[in-house]
């Protein structure tokens, strides 16, 4: 038996390829929701420590993105939307992405634990582990519920932000978690409705591929009907002011109206595309209103139900 030792081709990967590996757009949304959790949390945090916490959360999200691209390179290569990513495009070797992701994950968790909060660091580690292990490696290829359960990873950053300040979690960040968690399925299913062929070709069992477009439209409406009142919950529970209540209610009604349009859509994907675009704004708007509300002093502190010990 002869053994051939292949010599690795020296990398041509540029800094931009590594940045792309971190999914900067997803990262910005993660940082934003974490910032809201951090600002809403009771107690004071020095701006430098707050910056450190957000930096670690951003790098941790980037690590999860890189590890996702490492594992999903075969799927990405078969989908038009993702074929241009660094690994399927051949600009970066899978091993480089794996090493990069693991290094960033380690650094982000350790630095957050050392400088900010051990509990927040544990939550960040769980988030990265859940996104890579549970969503990417396990669920994504086996069940249409992949993004429903996997959505928990994307919903955790507000809790990490809160935990960075308090060292624990409470009802407020749990509600923020629920908003992002319930928002994820209608958001991604709206996308998958007009990318169903891509997903089918790649062998990813997204809901429209497995259960058909009609069932997907029905599920989008169901989730949106639950999401809208949960989106207004911070106001209903009394820790956001009326400004937030009005904005969240209007945005929720707009989401429901769009979901009804998607439900009734017979031909084309105009409503699905509109719903996908608006859903990004829907997530941004209430969270931005929470920030404005807190800065305007509209929030009522003291509702925290501590679920964890700590300072």
């Amino acid at each position: 038996m002869s053994v051939t030792l292949a010599r690795a081709e020296p990398s041509l990967a540029g800094v931009g390829d590594y940045i792309e590996l971190m999914k900067p757009r997803v990262m910005s949304l993660v940082v934003f929701t974490a910032l809201v959790g951090l600002v809403l949390a009771p107690g004071h945090m020095h701006p430098v420590i707050a910056f450190t916490a957000l930096l670690c959360i951003a790098v941790g999200a980037g690590a999860a993105g890189a590890l996702n691209m490492w594992y999903d390179a075969d799927i990405d290569a078969r989908m038009a939307r993702t074929a241009g990513r660094p690994i399927p495009a051949g600009r970066l070797a899978p091993g480089e992405a794996l090493a990069f992701g693991l290094t960033l994950a380690g650094f982000s968790v350790v630095v957050l634990g050392l400088l900010v909060s051990i509990f927040a660091a544990l939550l960040l580690a769980v988030t990265i582990g859940f996104y890579v292990g549970v969503y990417t490696i396990w669920l994504k290829r086996v069940t249409p519920q992949n993004i429903v359960i996997g959505g928990a990873a994307g919903a955790l950053p507000p809790m990490i932000g809160w935990a960075a300040v308090t060292g624990g979690v409470a009802l407020e960040p749990l509600v923020l978690f629920l908003i992002v968690f319930l928002w994820t399925p209608p958001h991604f299913w709206a996308l998958s409705l007009y990318r169903a062929n891509d997903y089918a070709q790649a062998g990813v069992p997204m809901l429209p591929v497995v259960a058909g477009a009609t069932e997907t439209r029905r599920q989008i409406l169901r989730y949106t009907l639950v999401l809208a009142p949960v989106g207004a919950a911070p106001w209903l529970l009394g820790y956001a002011g009326p400004l937030y209540g009005i904005a969240a209610s209007l945005a929720g009604m707009a989401m429901i109206a769009l979901a009804i349009r998607v439900r009734g859509e017979q031909r084309g994907h105009a409503a699905s595309k509109q719903m996908f675009s608006f859903s990004i704004l829907y997530l941004f708007l209430p969270f931005a209103m929470l920030l404005v509300d807190r800065m305007a002093g509209g929030a009522l502190p003291g509702l925290s139900i501590r679920l964890s010990a700590g300072g």
Binding site: S11, G14, V48, T52, A163
Partner: protein, 58 residues
């Protein structure tokens, strides 16, 4: 051409092209900057937190 001379030559190893050298240099600079910023971050946090630098919520 005498093959024996070529066989006696040591393996030249991996020779990087100019493009590969440029990419490696850019990556090295990015790593250096990142590590430098990490050191600065630890330094500033130490200044901010004072002697209790490792005191933090759970």
């Amino acid at each position: 051409m005498d093959n024996r001379i070529n066989e006696d030559k040591p393996d030249p190893g991996i020779r990087l092209t100019e493009q590969q050298q440029r990419a490696r240099r850019a990556r090295s600079i990015a790593i250096a900057i990142s590590l430098g910023l990490l050191v600065v971050l630890f330094y500033i946090v130490t200044l901010v937190k004072g002697p209790g630098v490792l005191e933090r919520p759970l």
